[in-house]
């Protein structure tokens, strides 16, 4: 418990170091608390530097309305970071700028993507989806045919198995939330349940797996348990209402709610039904990790419960003491988020954050907590629980189980996968926010 937290503890305090009841962020609460936080100066005199006047854009007609809308030219900083801008012969990653976004739906152009051999320019009129293997009748579907099927719509997150991998580093890497957690996004997906197509092909009762393959240059392939496929897999064709973009697998991708991103095969062209996994390169080499006990993980599919604070976060300087909203996203590959706790004193005390509706299974849930920063040191953390009772681990708990590097890692590297422990942001007295382990 910090001294500053103790001294600032008000009637609305729910935990130490300035965490306030959610009513502080609503209606009159904000005005009162805001006035108090700012010192209630000059309430009746005008603080504006000059009288309000008409701006140029209010004095003449504006620009033409474009056929396809784009963000304001003032929002040029709200973009993905790309690690292979010259398309060299290697993988490419584009990360979501969480610190500049609110809500739970990631705009299509800002949704993360990873390519292992460039983005193919697929003509949908020539694209085909083959289903074969342990089925009564191998079938080929084209885009027109699939468009006649009943499509299911669901909002869900997608997260690379290697998201947050920099947090495996033995020392906290100074980077923003985009660099640390930008390989996760959330969208509304619409597509044909793969189970429908498999039923038409007639799956052999002895089958246990499918092998999904893309039409991109690496012919990326992953083994997926048939039980998962029959449960909720989609051949997704639409994202946030429009056809999925080339970087997301146009004209169709596999969408496996809650499963690691790489298995959600883009440019889906083939499903082979089998009785065993293929042990593909990505199954067996890439998405597997050495453990501290000398063993290695395999078939670690579920993206476990996780949360991180997007604001305040590194790069978002706090300008002055006062009332702030601590905001972030929480999600779990096993279902809905049940609760999120937030701490401003590095985990010594916690309070329950407000969760925005709707809280959907396997989707981003936005959480919020009111916080009065008194200008002293603070360490912000969020910790989520899902409806199955799974708790987001502390970093200490996670490292005990999964390990960490022996020396500081690169921010662009992938020492391990499925990092889902608590992230800590330290707020310094000058308002800078830094990544720390606490």
């Amino acid at each position: 418990m910090s001294k500053s937290g103790q001294s600032a503890r008000s009637i609305d305090a729910v935990a130490d170091n300035g965490l306030l009841h959610r009513r502080a962020l609503l209606g009159r609460g904000v005005m009162l608390a805001g006035a108090m936080g700012a010192g209630a100066t000059g309430a009746l005199t005008s603080a504006a530097a000059e009288p309000l006047a008409e701006a140029p854009w209010s004095l003449a007609p504006g620009e033409v309305t474009p056929p396809y809308g784009r963000p304001s030219r003032f929002e040029k900083a709200v973009i993905r970071t790309v690690d292979n801008p010259n398309n060299e012969p290697k993988g490419s990653r584009a990360r979501t700028p969480h610190h500049l976004l609110k809500g739970t739906i990631t705009p299509n152009g800002l949704h993360f993507t990873i390519m292992h051999g460039g983005i193919p320019d697929i003509d949908p009129a020539q694209h085909k989806l083959l289903i074969h293997g342990m089925v009564k009748q191998p079938l080929v579907f084209d885009v027109d045919a699939l468009s006649r099927y009943r499509m299911v719509t669901r909002i869900g997150f997608l997260e690379c198995g290697g998201n947050s991998a920099p947090l495996f580093s033995s020392e906290p890497i100074q980077a923003d939330v985009q660099a640390l957690h930008g390989l996760a996004s959330c969208a509304e997906w619409a597509g044909v349940p793969l189970a429908t197509l498999l039923d038409e092909a007639g799956v052999d009762p002895a089958a246990k797996w499918i092998i999904a393959e893309g039409a991109d240059a690496p012919h990326l392939s992953r083994s997926v348990p048939l039980a998962k496929v029959m449960d909720d897999a989609l051949v997704a064709m639409y994202q946030n209402g429009e056809r999925i973009q080339p970087g997301q697998g146009y004209p169709m991708r596999l969408y496996l709610p809650g499963y690691e991103g790489n298995m959600n095969v883009k440019f889906l062209r083939r499903i082979q039904v089998t009785d065993q996994p293929t042990m593909t390169y990505f199954d067996s080499k890439i998405y597997t990790d050495p453990l501290p006990n000398g063993k290695d993980t395999q078939f670690d599919f579920v993206q476990e419960v996780k949360s991180f604070i997007t604001s305040p976060s590194p790069g978002l300087q706090l300008r002055e003491p006062g009332l702030y909203e601590i905001s972030g996203v929480a999600y779990s590959g096993t279902g809905r988020i049940a609760k999120v706790l937030v701490s401003a004193d590095g985990g010594k005390s916690f309070a329950e954050a407000a969760l925005d509706e709707p809280r959907l299974p396997k989707a981003f849930t936005r959480f919020a907590m009111a916080w009065r920063w008194d200008g002293g040191p603070a360490i912000l953390q969020s910790r989520a629980w899902d409806e199955a009772g799974n708790a987001q681990p502390t970093r200490e708990q996670f490292v005990a189980k999964r390990g960490q590097t022996s020396r500081p890692a690169s921010v662009l590297g992938f020492p391990g996968h499925h990092f889902n422990a608590i992230t800590s942001w330290a707020v310094k007295p000058d308002g800078e926010v830094r990544h720390v382990y606490a």
Binding site: P89, A145, S221, T280, S406, R407
Partner: protein, 176 residues
Amino acid sequence: MSMHDLAIAACALALAIGTGVAAAETPRLGKPVNQTDLAGWDINILPDGTNLPPGSGKAVEGARIYAEKCALCHGDKGQGGHAVRLIGGPPKASLDGGKTIANYWPYATTLFDFIRRAMPFTQPRSLTDQEVYALVAYILAENKLIGADDEINATTLPKVRMPNRDNFVVQFPERM
């Protein structure tokens, strides 16, 4: 069978028919395709060797193809370059890195599957099956996983014992 049981049986029958009708009401727009026509895409190799094609190769042929088509990215000795190391490396992988074919990959069949589908990076699917077998033989031999003169084919490849095979802890299906 009592009247009660009969009634239940009748209901179950009706349900079964109902379900059957519902299942039949999908558009059924998939076009049947035979094995001959889909063969060009049928490239998954299972770890037991299922679907490995005819052909064979030895390290000596593989070395020649490697120098021509792989060395630029993977290094002249397979030591890695701007693409990953293929030959040698540390004895054990860790979170600091060092996953290699010799110390990590559980199945040798994955080499054939991946090289054939994805390599060379700029010209995937350009290698013949014969060339892929030869490259696999070269990489396995240089990693001392087979003898320098061993032939790799559909029978021998699945039998190559990869040292790390039994070291994996399967997370699925407990956490499905």
